[in-house]
């Protein structure tokens, strides 16, 4: 399985005075079993980019290749392809429409041509992965809490069993508890199914502790693509793009500047704690 973009460029309103390139010459390769954080400032082109990855937008120039086949080539079945690359939009709870939770989650698998029984089985599996209690299966999706609605919506895409799951700002507008629950669900989905997950966000803290690859997009260009630890060491460049490194990186940087012997970078509070305690243990202070 491989999703590749070649010189992907998308221009809004081409040929008019409003013309604006949302993304330009984007080359990416997405493979099996990756956990990717796609990070960019508002208006950096990240939402435009992900809509190309499942063929909702057609590039002005460049191509998207799924296992080597152009997704806008002749005879390519885009509906079937959208079952392979699942996209969960921002505020996905606004797409719920059915009379009960289970039926809503069945919508995707049924569109793939599965039978009622198969669709229901997949829906139940997806709902339990997303952390929705069985008692809620017959509830109206409009009666659920904000965080529950969002998890039902994620289950709606998950039930299509995509090879790649893309989530656009899955934590937007949630309180800290809801945010942690969603991120933990995503982490669970990822470890249970070994799917490639792309987490789109502008929050480094959300992304840092989960992903194993970070892609930074700025003004429609890919600026960085690599290991989180490597990328979060570019604090200055990230700040120039209106982004930031995880909060903990700043504490470590300040300690380093104050003359403490700190090596490398930490991604989570726990790592940083161990680093700092290590200094004490080694008796530098």
């Amino acid at each position: 399985m491989e999703l590749r973009t070649e010189k992907l460029t998308y221009e809004y309103d081409p040929g008019t005075s409003y013309a604006k390139k949302a993304i330009e010459d984007v080359d990416l390769v997405i493979r099996e079993n990756e956990f990717i954080g796609l990070i960019g400032h508002t208006g950096s082109g990240k939402s435009t980019l992900i809509q190309h990855l499942n063929g909702l937008l057609k590039a002005t120039s460049g191509r998207v290749l799924w296992n080597g086949k152009d997704i806008f080539g002749d005879g390519f079945d885009r509906k079937e392809f959208r079952g392979h690359v699942g996209l969960v939009f921002q505020y996905p709870e606004y797409q719920l429409f059915e009379t009960d939770v289970l039926k809503d989650v069945c919508f995707g698998p049924k569109n793939l041509g599965l039978s009622e029984a198969e669709a229901t089985a997949r829906a139940k599996e997806a709902l339990s992965l997303a952390g929705i209690d069985e008692k809620l299966y017959k509830a109206s999706p409009f009666e659920l809490s904000g965080g529950q609605k969002r998890r039902v919506a994620i289950a709606g895409v998950l039930a299509m069993k995509p090879d790649i799951l893309i989530l656009d700002e899955p934590t937007a507008g949630l309180d800290p508890k809801g945010r942690d629950e969603i991120l933990d669900s995503i982490s669970l989905i990822r470890s249970e199914t070994k799917k490639t997950v792309i987490l789109v966000s502008h929050s480094m803290d959300d992304v840092a502790q989960y992903v194993n690859r970070v892609i930074v997009i700025n003004k429609g260009h890919i600026e960085f693509d690599g290991e989180p630890r490597e990328i979060f060491s570019h604090i200055e460049e990230l700040e120039e793009m209106g982004l930031s490194a995880p909060a903990i990186s700043y504490i470590l940087r300040d300690l380093k500047e104050a003359g403490f012997p700190i090596e490398g970078n930490a991604l989570t509070v726990e790592e940083a704690r161990d680093m700092i305690l290590g200094i004490f243990r080694r008796g530098h202070v």
């Binding site: 809509q51 499942n54 909702l56 509906k79 959208r82 079952g83 699942g86 996209l87 969960v88 939009f89 996905p92 606004y94 797409q95 719920l96 429409f97 919508f107 995707g108 569109n111 793939l112 409009f142 709606g156 895409v157 299509m160």
Partner: protein, 268 residues
Amino acid sequence: MFKDITLGQFYPADSVIHRLDPRVKLLGTVVYIASLFIGKTFFTFIPISVFLVMVIILSKVPVSFILRGIKPIIPLLIISAAFNLILTPGDSVIVRFWIITINWEGVFMAIFIILRLLYLVAGTSLLTLTTTPTRLTDGMEKGLRFLTPLKVPVHEIAMMMSIALRFIPILTEEADKIKKAQLARGADFESGNLMKRVRAMIPLLVPLFVSAFRRAGDLAMAMEARCYNGAEGRTKMKPLFYAGRDFIAYGVIFGYLAVVIVMRVFGL
């Protein structure tokens, strides 16, 4: 799919017609529509044409924009012309076959009705082309204020109209987002027969309605939080005042109406 929805398509330009008080333009439009129905002969189209052409030239709106408004009514034109052609009673028969008779009176009526409808659309579209929706509702509110003693909620109606207009682009965008979200879940809006396509709209319409109600509730709350309580004692940021050109325009409008009425009285 939703990109083409426009309502009150405004053409921005700096012209005397754009600057006219919206009340003048509203009255002018009403008089213009009335004049189309006062006229009974082809001669009345002479003053009507002069009036229309004058306004179009003054408004600096390209003729292509006005013609664009005519395109969607072509089927209506054809149907009404056809009915008038065969259903007008008269003696000067041209052809007769089966149960259909075509006479000169019918031909006259068919041409007349086409002209009337064309002039109607061309003239009224000028109103929305030269007036922003906000100015239009402002003008309606102030121009219809004389109805307030009759318990007509003029301010509320005007407020509802401006909110409705304001929400068109928001809901258009929302519909587009929901459509994409459902496409990502494998929805299919384009294939199948009519019934299938109508059913395919449900995943789009239900969330759209839910979100429209949610937005309406939010807006009502936001308005109340800012102490909105209707028309009483409310002032405008940009109140409407008549300028010299507005009185001249009123003069032209009433002069035009007089000409059309006089022509009707003398049977021209």
